[in-house]
């Protein structure tokens, strides 16, 4: 599945034929990382890509992948979302407390969670477009508001999910977790939307140049609001997966995962420009897989978690520097 995903946008977005696009670079880097990682782990007598290893990488990718898919859309319009982390925490509590262990409440709880997430996305979008607040500030503000509510109201985990709902988090098809399949299906759907529909073109147009897009008759505000709603809904779905694995809602589950900055890192690592208009979901999934593989390799090697952060930071900066360089080379032609 990932192979076709990688190939398609390359063909689609290739502005200069024969050049290495960021998306291709991401997947090449992923392959190199898998090979080097396998060798390193093998030298310590382990196997990176056995059943457990693959499961580990994919499980790690799922939640971050969902948030990053939403973040990709937002960043493509030239906006930014800093609210997913605390939103995930709040959504996990809403879901778990609504279910309260009752199998009959699963559907209402899921609807309520997704609906609430959409509402937060709507607020984000409207603050940015109607109140003309910089996206950084608007979503940071919303994140802080949610954080304050969480810190004031909850002291620890709350609510519980029925056993049936935990299937979502733990069931697998072969070595692939069910939740990863759902994430990848959503990724393909979003990829199709961005590259094959009018709405998707509008996203790229707004990110490329909002003023030109507006003059071309695109409702730029509506596009930005919509991507924020979708991004928050993705955060809501991520919360549902986390709840199904944890069995209850936890206020800091999103913040501890660092899903706000981490998702932005994954998107940018995937070759999407932070200023918008260029990039796509295929690269983002590659970026997420790279981060997850790095984590798994480090765990297998028994390296302290602190070195992970250092490597992550360095990888992020180096990757974006490389993209900027190839961008420059292209412009020079």
């Amino acid at each position: 599945m990932t192979a076709t995903q990688a190939a398609q946008p390359v063909r689609h977005n290739a502005t200069s034929r024969g050049r290495v696009t960021p998306t291709l670079m991401v997947y090449l880097a992923l392959v190199v990382l898998l090979v080097v990682g396998s060798v390193l782990v093998a030298m310590r007598g382990g196997v990176l890509l056995d059943h457990g290893g693959i499961l580990n990488i994919l499980t790690r990718s799922t939640v971050l992948g969902l948030v990053a898919i939403g973040q990709t859309m937002v960043i493509l319009t030239g906006s930014l979302d800093l609210s997913p982390a605390y939103l995930i925490g709040l959504c996990s509590l809403i879901a778990a407390e609504t279910m309260a262990g009752d199998p009959g409440m699963v559907v209402p709880a899921v609807l309520l969670t997704v609906g609430f997430a959409a509402l937060v996305g709507l607020v984000n979008g409207l603050v940015i477009t109607a109140l003309k607040v910089n996206a950084f500030i608007a979503t940071l503000g919303v994140a802080l508001i949610i954080r304050g509510y969480l810190e004031n109201t909850y002291t620890g985990p709350a609510g519980s999910v029925p056993r049936g709902f935990q299937h979502l988090g733990y069931d697998r098809i072969g070595p692939v977790p069910l939740s990863t399949v759902v994430m990848l299906v959503i990724a393909v759907a979003v990829w199709w939307y961005l590259t094959r529909t009018k709405g998707g073109y509008h996203v790229y147009a707004v990110g490329g140049d909002a003023e030109v897009a507006r003059l071309s008759g695109i409702r730029t505000g509506r596009t930005i609001v919509m991507t924020h709603v979708l991004c928050s809904v993705m955060a809501g779905l991520a919360a549902l997966f986390l709840v199904s694995r944890l069995g209850s809602g936890a206020p800091l589950v999103g913040a501890d995962g660092g899903y706000d900055l981490e998702s932005i890192a994954a998107v940018v690592l995937g070759g999407t420009l932070l200023s918008g208009g260029r990039g796509g979901v295929a690269g983002t999934i590659g970026g997420v897989l790279i981060l997850a593989t790095l984590d798994t390799v480090f765990d297998d090697l028994g390296v302290t978690p602190f070195l992970k952060d250092v490597v992550r930071g360095a990888v992020l900066i180096v990757a974006v520097a490389l993209y900027a360089r190839s961008q420059l080379a292209r412009r020079a032609r």
Binding site: V127, L131, K132, V133, N134, F136, I137, A138, L140, G141, V142, A143, L144, I145, I146, R147, G148, Y149, L150, E151, N152, T153, L261, I264, A265, V268, L274, S275, T304, P305, F306, L307, K308, D309, V310, V311, R312, G313, A314, L316, I317, V320, A321, A324, R325, Q327, L328
Partner: protein, 323 residues
């Protein structure tokens, strides 16, 4: 238009609202808290606010020249942890450790600046990467938790003050440091380099075409931000002691403060005094909420509402002026 404005008020645009809010808060504090009926109460407030205000000066330079510095929070943590490990309770080490801390701050800023300007990586990403690197590196070095201890003379700067001053009693050292830095910042911003820095944030190409050294100026802004984090860390380390959480969330808090002061993200607009006023406003507000018995948990909520309201307010004003 800006010219008539400049004649009408001597303040930079966007400065007046934050000063009004600050004045209201300071008066309100006097009504609510008995400690604020004497100058010492306000001095204590200034002492608490000094680290954030100093960080706001540094962040102002970066934001006004069109960038972000997300690394200051983790830099503060790193500096405090490094100080504790290097000093390890040895009083005689204080002097050179402070110099080392300032150097580290400057180097981190230099790296941020050089990567941003030479490798053309957006500052958001560079400083985010730096945040991760610093967070990881410092605990990699100390093995997971802060080690060692700060010396008494190191902690003096954050804790003690000059005693026996008439009327107000004790003047905290942090307030003295703050006053010196504020003066330096104001003088710097009135000089040619400061003015060009703002111009870089407004229109980089124009400055470049005019012969300005854009890369060097933007790098300088990051270096100053790194230095401000080092100074803030010295004050915070003295004030609050060694902890692995000392800088948590400071990057967002200081950006809130600067934006509250009417400095526009993206650069080119705002004054350094207003940025500091924003930081003091934020701290005064937290003190006031504390006195009113609002729980600490809601602090973030208030911060969130304020930051959105402040920027939305500025945006409304803009549209009216244009019409």
């Amino acid at each position: 238009m800006t010219r008539t404005q400049a004649r009408r008020t001597r303040f930079a645009p966007g400065t007046v609202p934050v000063l009004v809010v600050l004045a209201v808060l300071l008066v309100a504090l006097a009504f609510v808290g008995t400690a604020y009926q004497q100058p010492a109460g306000y001095l204590a407030l200034l002492k608490r606010a000094a680290p954030l205000m100093i960080l706001a000066i540094g962040q102002y330079f970066v934001i006004v020249s069109g960038g972000f510095d997300l690394s200051v929070g983790s830099l503060v943590t790193a500096e405090v942890v490094i100080a504790a490990r290097l000093i390890d309770g040895d009083d005689s080490a204080t002097g050179w450790v402070i110099l080392v801390l300032l150097l580290i701050g400057a180097v981190v800023g230099l790296v941020n600046g050089v990567i941003t300007t030479r490798l053309l990586v957006p500052s958001f990403i560079v400083t985010l990467g730096m945040l991760l690197v610093l967070d990881g590196a410092v605990f990699l070095w100390t093995g997971g938790a802060p080690r060692g201890a700060l010396s008494d003379s190191f902690r003096t700067i954050g804790r003690q003050g000059i005693d026996g001053v008439p009327v107000i009693g004790q003047v905290p050292w942090s307030v003295v440091v703050l006053a010196v830095l504020v003066t330096m910042a104001v003088v710097f911003m009135r000089g040619p380099t400061g003015r060009t820095l703002v111009a870089v944030g407004d229109n980089e190409t124009a400055v470049w075409l005019g012969g300005g050294r854009v890369e060097r100026l933007r790098t300088l802004a990051f270096v100053l931000s790194g230095l401000s984090a080092a100074v803030a860390a010295i004050l915070l380390g003295g004030f609050a002691g060694v902890s692995a959480q000392v800088g948590d969330g400071l990057e967002f808090r200081v950006i809130t403060a600067v934006v509250l002061g009417g400095v526009v993200l993206g650069g080119g607009r705002g004054s350094v005094v207003a940025a500091m006023a924003g930081a003091l406003t934020l701290e005064s507000l937290f003190s006031l909420l504390n006195l009113l018995g609002v729980s600490g948990g809601l602090e973030s909520t208030v911060q969130g509402v304020i930051i959105i309201a402040a920027v939305a307010y500025a945006a409304i004003d803009w549209r009216r002026k244009r019409a």
